[in-house]
Amino acid sequence: MSASAHNSTFRPTRANIVALIYMVILSVIMIFPFVWMLATSFKGSQLLVDPYSLIPRNPTLYTYQALLGDPLFQFGEAFRNSALSVLVTILFGIPLGTMGGYALARIKGRWVDVGLIALFFLRMMPSFVTAAPQFRLLLAMGLVGHPAGLYIMYIAMSLPLTMLTVRNYLLNMPAEIEEAAMVDGCSRRQLFLKIAAPLARPAILTSTIFIFVNFWLEYILAAQLMRGQYLTLSILLVGVADPTTGRFELIFALAVLIALPIVILFPLIARYLTSGAFSGAVKG
């Protein structure tokens, strides 16, 4: 590291000023679409008169009142269903994935390596490829249109990433604590519950965030496996996001409401995604 690295005060050299201006411009480009979304959502019926301003001339909560109050939009039902699917997926996916990830970190052998590569590719598989056979599977089980069928799919599809994240995290942890506890007569189950699982907390929280972000707006399976029997937020948004209807304020207000839980949880998300556990999830 050069000497300047230790100097934390900003020195106005030409390169530093260029970097600062560049950073500000880039930040504006990255954040502008969300700011405009928020602004537009408060324009209500004024949208066509005043579509481009960043601060609405006559801000109104009308669109939100319509979305939340009018039973026609079924926002409450969609919100409840989306929240329920994410919660059920976390409730089952996290303990199962943590157990699996722990086992993968402790079992050695060529088969484990093959399995890890398979998991890495599985988590990259898009659901527009797997949705049709998954539909037939649920059909055979009599679960098409039944929420339980969707939950099972979400849980199974969340497992590869959780297992890889937990495994990579535990692999970097010293094994001495577990070895010492083992000599003291601790069983594997106790090792897992008392030592490994608490140790893997950052990886578990990172995985929980990933499940939330990945499945909160899952569309293809919710639309194709549930066949209109289970309204989720993604289905609602896709239905509204039709440019021919011209109700842009509705799209934006709905998008704001859908993004709200992510915004509320964002400080927590930011903390865990910048921690070391995140690099384990990306490396896979």
Partner: protein, 308 residues
């Protein structure tokens, strides 16, 4: 009896017993997650191969052997050819844009004394975490046909309006632009992290030797970043080929199929035209192509890391 045995810990037989019970418990931990993955994830992927050599014309047709006719149909189908051309343009230009702007931004921003760096990091993370469906909905309005804030700005500057999403020659590039925007935070964060491991001593030596910044980049920085670039490109190729909501929400594949990508073509063939076997054959072709690209990149990665 059990209590008495438990005291004979030192006997080799007992140790072996403990070891195998321990191994069994570990495999027991794997049993439920592995079963769920195999039944609901691996089996569907394998089923796609069987469907692709069957003749299933609806979602509930039973599979039956039909040979390679579907693959012949897919390879001759002009919509699939169009989707392939579009996807190649989409993936290549998106990756070039994300990598070039990502590295450039990381090089400019890689200095410790910039004020507001944490705010910038937060902004990047926020844009990165937003689901593709929401991003597509917002950009539908930014580049929209009726209301378009970009066209509004162009008019303020006295320029012509552009048919961002309804001109067949432009729509694909609009989607590429949005996709570069979407992938930029990840790329900047990855390259910023990588640059922090770079030893600056070489640069001081190179500067003393009179090397220009451009020469320093190609002689020192680029070789150092190459393994990161290749890894990011592997992930990026798969992610970009899987992009679904940008064409699905913003253009519906149009105008004139100019933004029809593999993802949308497969989705439509299976779920709108209900040609299950043909859609399955498309999926197989697409994933063989991606696998070949992945292996090629992987070899390149091994080469770059052994050379370095």
């Amino acid at each position: 009896m059990g209590i008495q045995l438990a005291h004979k810990m030192s006997s080799p037989r007992r140790a072996f017993h403990r070891l195998s019970v321990d191994r069994l418990t570990l495999w027991g931990f794997l049993f439920i997650p592995l079963t769920l993955i195999v039944v609901f994830f691996v089996y569907p992927l394998l089923a796609i191969f069987f469907y692709s050599i069957s003749d299933m014309r609806s979602l509930n047709d039973p599979p039956s052997f039909y040979g390679l006719t579907n693959f012949e149909w897919v390879l001759r189908n002009q919509f699939f050819q169009l989707a392939t051309r579009n996807t190649v343009v989409f993936v290549v230009l998106s990756l070039i844009g994300q990598t070039a702007i990502g590295i450039l931004s990381a090089l400019i921003l890689n200095r410790e004394q910039l004020p507001g760096k944490n705010i910038f990091r937060t902004v990047l993370l926020f844009a990165w975490i937003m689901p593709e469906l929401i991003v597509a909905s917002i950009f539908l309005m930014i580049f929209g046909n009726n209301i378009s804030i970009v066209n509004h700005w162009l008019e303020l500057l006295g320029l012509q309006r552009v048919g961002w999403l309804n001109d067949p020659n432009i729509a694909l590039f609009t989607l590429i632009l949005v996709n570069i925007w979407k992938g930029l935070p990840f790329n900047i964060m990855i390259y910023l992290t990588a640059l922090q491991g770079l030893n600056t001593d070489y640069y001081e030596a190179a500067t003393l030797d009179g090397a220009s910044a451009w020469q320093q980049f190609w002689a020192l920085t680029f070789p150092f970043l190459l393994p990161t670039i290749v890894t990011t490109l592997i992930l990026g190729t798969i992610w970009t080929a899987n992009v679904f909501f940008l064409p699905f929400i913003m253009t519906g594949g149009g105008p004139l199929d100019s933004t029809l990508l593999w993802s949308l073509a497969i989705y439509r063939t299976i779920f709108q035209n209900l040609q299950l076997s043909r859609g399955a054959a498309m999926s197989v072709v697409v994933y063989i192509i991606l696998l070949v690209i992945g292996i090629a990149f992987y070899r390149l990665l091994n080469k770059t890391t052994t050379d370095a």
